[in-house]
Symmetry: D2
Subunit: 156 residues, 4 copies
Amino acid sequence: MKSISYIDRFDESYRNSFSFSHRIKIRFSETDMFGHMNNTAPFTYFEDGRIEFFKKIGIMQAWMSSNGEKIPVVADIQCDFIQQGFFDEEITLCVKINRIGTSSVDLHYLGINQNRESLFVGRGTVVQISKHSGKSVPWSEEEKKRMLQLEEPENL
Amino acid sequence: MKSISYIDRFDESYRNSFSFSHRIKIRFSETDMFGHMNNTAPFTYFEDGRIEFFKKIGIMQAWMSSNGEKIPVVADIQCDFIQQGFFDEEITLCVKINRIGTSSVDLHYLGINQNRESLFVGRGTVVQISKHSGKSVPWSEEEKKRMLQLEEPENL
Amino acid sequence: MKSISYIDRFDESYRNSFSFSHRIKIRFSETDMFGHMNNTAPFTYFEDGRIEFFKKIGIMQAWMSSNGEKIPVVADIQCDFIQQGFFDEEITLCVKINRIGTSSVDLHYLGINQNRESLFVGRGTVVQISKHSGKSVPWSEEEKKRMLQLEEPENL
Amino acid sequence: MKSISYIDRFDESYRNSFSFSHRIKIRFSETDMFGHMNNTAPFTYFEDGRIEFFKKIGIMQAWMSSNGEKIPVVADIQCDFIQQGFFDEEITLCVKINRIGTSSVDLHYLGINQNRESLFVGRGTVVQISKHSGKSVPWSEEEKKRMLQLEEPENL
């Protein structure tokens, strides 16, 4: 199995460590002339999955309110490609929290196709900042609690 | 020659009726698995060309100012494909005003490749609206004047 | 109600004339700095809906086979925006055949949000061509039959 | 200065270590409702810059030939965001080789705006594979020579 710097062991137990997932289909417009999913597509999937994850745990709503002063920004993001993705494949995009910082959260991502093959994995840090000052804003106790309140891993 | 509903005669004189153009390259990520430019790409090119056009005539700046209350929105837009576009082709994206309305402007678009072949044409209406009320805002005399101050058609 | 050139009367009966629909969500990455869905997004939705429609009636499969010599290409496409779309809105993207030509088909599109408001409508012609010659390939009797075998309009 | 795992010291001397760059403008459609460049955009810029780089050193041409059996694929790619990017900023996208493997190459990327501020950095591995078998194909001596034939760093 491929060695990935931010994963201790990329095996079945790693795959089972995710308790949240979101379904996505590889769009025709996300393929390129080499006949496969273009390498930029997973970053859109990560964003979609991350937002659904934040909605589920209940911290997205405040960010989206019109008088919201706090917004989440991506500090860094990366993707490792395990095997090529193709048009019309149904991707189960798994998201989990790896580590919670003062005003940031490190997320892991995993994309699995309908044959239960891993297509890609990824990780990245999201930081909560003030929209106006651009400075980081520490998580409230309530937000931390919500992030820690994760369900038991479901069978993906 | 292809008949296009919004063009009287799609010939060399139509091509020469444009006095503004913007250079664009077909990106790898804008191709699809059929090996050519995906049909969604020209709409991004139209937006790029339209913005450069509005900047040139001097009406874009007010829309982009942070306290700007007025924004331009696309009311309708369309594209007719003349021949397939391919990766790395250099497109001369031509833009011109077809008609100025009370608070709208009808623009024509033309994409020509490096061999001077027409790849696609298009048109669409942009309306100036109030960001808060969502209602249309008539052009000022100054804005109309700027839109009418077009240079002589350059040799594209 | 807005007057749209390719629709006789854009009313409830027009909305009920669609018998196929596909669900789509407006992605965060499909919004722009004006806070709404960017005008290029519906063209991706049209492509997604069109492909699901062609899969349902059973003519997509041949186009996707690796030894497929025939592919569908967009000859023209257009969109009329009725009201602004926003992040996270669930769009019911309706697709129907308006007219079948010798080697082409004219499709109509309609995007409705979760409040049953029409956000945008569109139309466009898809032509079946030979991948190698680039020339149009007439529909077979089987393909025409499949396109005519439409179900009764469902309540959208 | 931000600490980035794959850069020894992210300082002026790092910035001056690039000898190739490509100009890109942040498109309106690449912004999102938070008012800045969406986090997925740099991956498209990396692809554009990488392709221009491969064209310059002369190894892109073989990959694009119609009877080409070898294609480059992205094995992994990542981006670290230094400061927010905004609509219409002109980005100087720098690309350089960090390490050449048997059939892969590790590239570094750097995006600088018109005020010479670093907006983002990145890195990623591209592997040359056989289009049909999907297996990696070692670089030829000629290809390696071309990759090593880098000019002196120019003043970016």
